[in-house]
Symmetry: C2
Subunit: 193 residues, 2 copies
Amino acid sequence: MPKLGMEPIRRDALIKATIAEIGAAGSLDVTVSRIARRAGMSSALAHHYFGSKDAMFLAAMRHVLAVYGAEVRGALAVADDPEARARALIRASFTPTSFRREVIAAWLNFYVLAQTRADAARLLAVYQRRLVSNLTHALRPVAGAGARALAEGVAAMVDGVYLREALGAGEPDGRAAARMVEGWLQAQLGVLK
Amino acid sequence: MPKLGMEPIRRDALIKATIAEIGAAGSLDVTVSRIARRAGMSSALAHHYFGSKDAMFLAAMRHVLAVYGAEVRGALAVADDPEARARALIRASFTPTSFRREVIAAWLNFYVLAQTRADAARLLAVYQRRLVSNLTHALRPVAGAGARALAEGVAAMVDGVYLREALGAGEPDGRAAARMVEGWLQAQLGVLK
DNA sequence: GCAGGTTTATTGATTGGTCAATCAACAAAA
DNA sequence: TTTTGTTGATTGACCAATCAATAAACCTGC
């Protein structure tokens, strides 16, 4: 029953299944077989399309980052004044799409991977730089020369709140997390005035 | 050549070797054999003393937290005014003892583990609560009712800066990291006055 | 339109390797 | 002779990656 043009469909299914399995296992200790089964195919086919397990993880993480990037662009598009842009960036990190068990698990494992795998480190660096750069641009009009330092602080705060909320007790609450970071930014901006 | 009273020595050697191996591998994918070899014994002996690989990881993490805890108490002892106490807590998270490749690797893997293993989650919760609680007490005199919120912000900032510094380019710089968090706290306190 | 070759899709079975955990056995102390 | 320390060898399981084989769809040139 081979239909042609399956490649993109299969790749997509595998990427989603990879994220789901990482989420379920809470670690990268997931077998290709399990991922493939969840995606409705044999493990051999998964290897056929991705070549290796590592390549699958990387592709999955690129997908997570792509979704997050889209979220950021979407949020920025509807924000007009500088402060709104900064708040949009903060909130984009905590939307239900990005801030849920599965994706959080992927991120945590991604951090671990970034310590040793150069490609993972590169991918992570792109995310980190982009967040700071976006925040810096957004804050420039209100913070001037201090925008960069402020941006780095907010970026750190985003990651820290993400981590604490993700690993704290109970369901992760993106709304509360975003409010917390926004509150701090507000206070910091207050100092400038 | 069996000498008596080896147990604590062996356990200690294994715990240190575990941290070293995790640091070298950048993940929990280290074999008991490698750890045991580094600690100068057979893998069978490692199992004899710890029972399982997981138990070794947990013991290693408890050790990391114990060292960190000692560092905190030491720093608090020599700080007298509230602000100094808060700064001492911040700096304790970034001392060379705790803020170096090996230990950072252990922490990142610990985060991953805490998602699924109840004992790891419990251990992490203890650390998280203690940091907030210590900060709250330190800040109470200067921040009053707002101490708790301030403490949570600082705690998140500590974790976030830790993460970004740990995974950023170049060697992790604890001094710079601590300065950054202290600066933010300073600014926040400025708002109150 | 269709025989035969090519590409794409797909899998079951196999290979080669790794590793946690156990065990039997030996050795020194108490 | 019981307790403590210690190891080499083994067991049992798991798994990434490869391969041989099957089959549908597409593509010629006639």
